[in-house]
Symmetry: C2
């Protein structure tokens, strides 16, 4: 049925996307041969160009914001869409940070000399052409271009229509700066025409595009994952749990739960669900509920949890089965009291989105069981779920957080944008 | 359109596959917790069980062969389908070899202590449930079960209908032996009902199946890659080139070309295309053509190549554009004389299937350019293309050869059947 899908895409849109991809492939061949010094110099030049163009970028952004307001975009979307001069300079600083990171290309992952004298080594090489499909934030446009350049990949960017003017201006600036550096501007491409058809043409351009990374809400990711015939890295949906074990230290439990939920509730590594062992409930829940209430959190609780919320004067509603599988991305938290570690692990195994799961415990055996039996990109012991992040892990950059098992799992940085090649050198060996 | 596809699958077939997958997921949880000692003991018990059941396996295989002859299967397919007692014992030996291999599960890939004291480590863990869709060879059934068990994965096997009786008997034997070892028999599952619908239900069972690996001809792989909504590792199509550079040693060029093409021509790492630099043609081609002719190879050549073939009395036909992209898997070889290294690299870049490409040269700069600019899973200098192989690389086992860039590229062994998990341990750290 892929054939049908592709056929449904208007021929002119498909041809435009394929033409763009062919240009990107040619550029990718050049990028793969650049030295780190050449790439870093280009990244710094791109940063200077973005700084210099700040006023025109903001002007383009104002057009997007006006269109957004006319269309009645919600405030939080308008905020994500907004680029003032300071944010533009922050985006440029991001490019300079990427220049300072080590180059993954050329790293020898492993190697050996075989019994017959053949020398084999597995070397990191760029993916080639990487497609990015994302929503409002225009900073992703520059971040993706910078990470792509550093890792030797050409990128084809499919941003949200809400940010069309800003993205168009940013990519103009980047392409001009690349050309000045003697690098093909086709290393960075933006798809503005064709709407969803263009996105579908991109994700079905097998042989022209090596990888597609969707960044955005669950529905965008689901669409790409199910419709793409190009390999995809699924990112970001996080229905993260914090389980407070019977043996948990009270203060630690309060701080980890509150930080996981309230430090920033609109992100994928924020906690969405709280599980507390019955034996710890009286000890930890009064303080947890008070702090959550003070932070404006509404608890979706079972009967026991609603009781603790009520006593603390914290907003609460009855938890539903749907809540157990919901990534609220808001000041809402599903919460249940459990009778045992087994019940907690079973609940997490049933409802995890495979992003980040945390246990707070003083019991070494409980920690070992939780980290071994829970299947997620990151499993935390006595730490906030908010630590699952490329910057926090010390990667210096992040293209997204993979919640799939293939290729990359957890925070993705530069090495995850590369593949490998076996180089085999001999003196005429035959079998 | 995935929704449509799934809808096209008869409900009873889909439910049977999903029920099988749910059972496999439960078994996978047990497998993930087994120690290497437990898995190795089980593998040896499986090997003994296969040996003990040899007669009944051969009897089942005879039924498949009879059905195959009635259906008029070609001889080479019947040969691949055949399991005599010796081949059954060879399959059992394969299980013992897997038991002797290191366990990838639990390997710490990398780790560090962050500035805030958090200890993070990336640990290899099983994928979970791996689907295998393959064709005639019944030995794949046991190989996949053994590699799956060693890497802690439950497997769902979708073998070719031609081998249905043999596969059914083999899986009966494996499941019974697993049960005797106290391991859930649902660690190894065979889909025999539902024909292509069952295969499509397997490759669209997102959330129940973690990975699908197709093994077989180009059309099978293309179908899985384009129709699957479960992550796929593409394997095996090899349109491998050997380029003889101007500076190539004559004897080395002859041996590498002849071995790459004729050592075994039905495999994916056999050479399908020969490129020779014009300046080396008179020196190397008379001997190459004579040897290829003696091996019964038909040369699909350009005018120059046909001339050398004619002089050597080697069968030849004019090369077509289609030949340039054809994996013959037979005693056929497309062959062209090129004017330069640039032309050779451009030709390979245009026609490579991303499997294995080889250069024969004495020129260090030419070798460096070829290995850097050619984008394939393996690039060989002065060695036969036949060396791209898990056994040859010293992996001890091979589940297939990936020709994609995501997750695994080149020969795949046990580590490629695992993913990773970040384990983060702290003392109450928050952001």
């Amino acid at each position: 049925m892929t054939a049908q899908t592709v056929a449904e895409i208007p021929a002119d849109v498909r041809e435009h996307v394929h033409e763009t991809a062919r240009g990107a492939r040619t550029a990718a061949r050049q990028l793969a041969l650049l030295t780190r010094a050449q790439k870093d110099a280009a990244l710094l030049a791109l940063a200077d160009a973005v700084d210099a163009a700040a006023a025109s970028v903001v002007a383009a952004n104002v057009q997007d914001l006006e269109r957004g307001r006319e269309k009645g975009l919600p405030t939080n979307l308008l905020d994500r869409l907004t680029l003032d001069e300071e944010r533009v300079h922050a985006v440029a600083r991001g490019l300079r940070q990427v220049a300072a990171l080590p180059d993954p290309v050329g790293e020898v992952v492993r190697g050996s000399t075989l019994a017959n004298g053949l020398q084999i080594r597995q070397v990191r090489v760029p993916m080639g052409v990487v497609g990015m499909i994302y929503e409002a934030r225009p900073n992703v446009t520059v971040d993706a271009a910078g990470l792509g350049l550093k890792s030797g990949n050409a990128v084809i960017l499919r941003g949200g229509s809400a940010a069309a003017s800003t993205n168009t201006r940013l990519v103009e600036v980047l392409r001009a700066a690349l050309a000045e550096q003697g690098i093909s501007p086709d290393a960075v491409n933006l798809l503005t025409e064709g709407g969803h058809d263009a996105a579908r043409a991109l994700m079905t351009a097998r042989g022209l595009v090596d990888l597609v990374i969707p960044r955005g809400g669950a529905s965008l990711i689901q669409t790409v994952v199910t419709q793409s015939t190009v390999p995809v890295i699924e990112t970001g949906v996080g229905n993260c749990h914090v389980y407070v074990d019977a043996s948990a230290d009270t203060d630690m439990a309060v701080e980890v739960v509150v930080n996981s939920k309230t430090h920033r509730n609109s992100v994928c590594n924020a906690a969405e669900s709280l599980l507390v062992h019955r034996d710890a409930a009286d000890r930890v829940l009064p303080a947890i509920m008070a702090r959550l209430g003070a932070a404006g959190v509404t608890v979706h609780g079972d009967a026991a949890m609603e009781g603790y919320a009520e006593s603390a004067g914290t907003a609460h509603v009855p938890v539903t089965d749907e809540d157990d599988d919901t990534e609220f991305l808001s000041a809402d938290l599903s919460a249940r009291v459990v009778d045992s570690l087994d019940q907690a692990i079973a609940h997490v195994q049933e409802h995890t989105s495979g992003h980040t799961e945390a246990i707070v415990t003083a019991d070494r055996a409980a920690a070992r069981r939780f980290t071994t039996e829970v299947d997620a990109a990151a499993v935390m012991v006595n730490a906030s779920t908010r630590f699952t992040d490329g910057e926090e892990f010390g990667f210096g950059a992040e293209i997204g957080i993979s919640t799939q098992k293939l290729h990359a799992r957890g925070p993705m940085a530069l090495p995850e944008l590369t593949t490998t090649k076996w180089v085999v050198e001999g003196d005429g060996q035959v079998r």
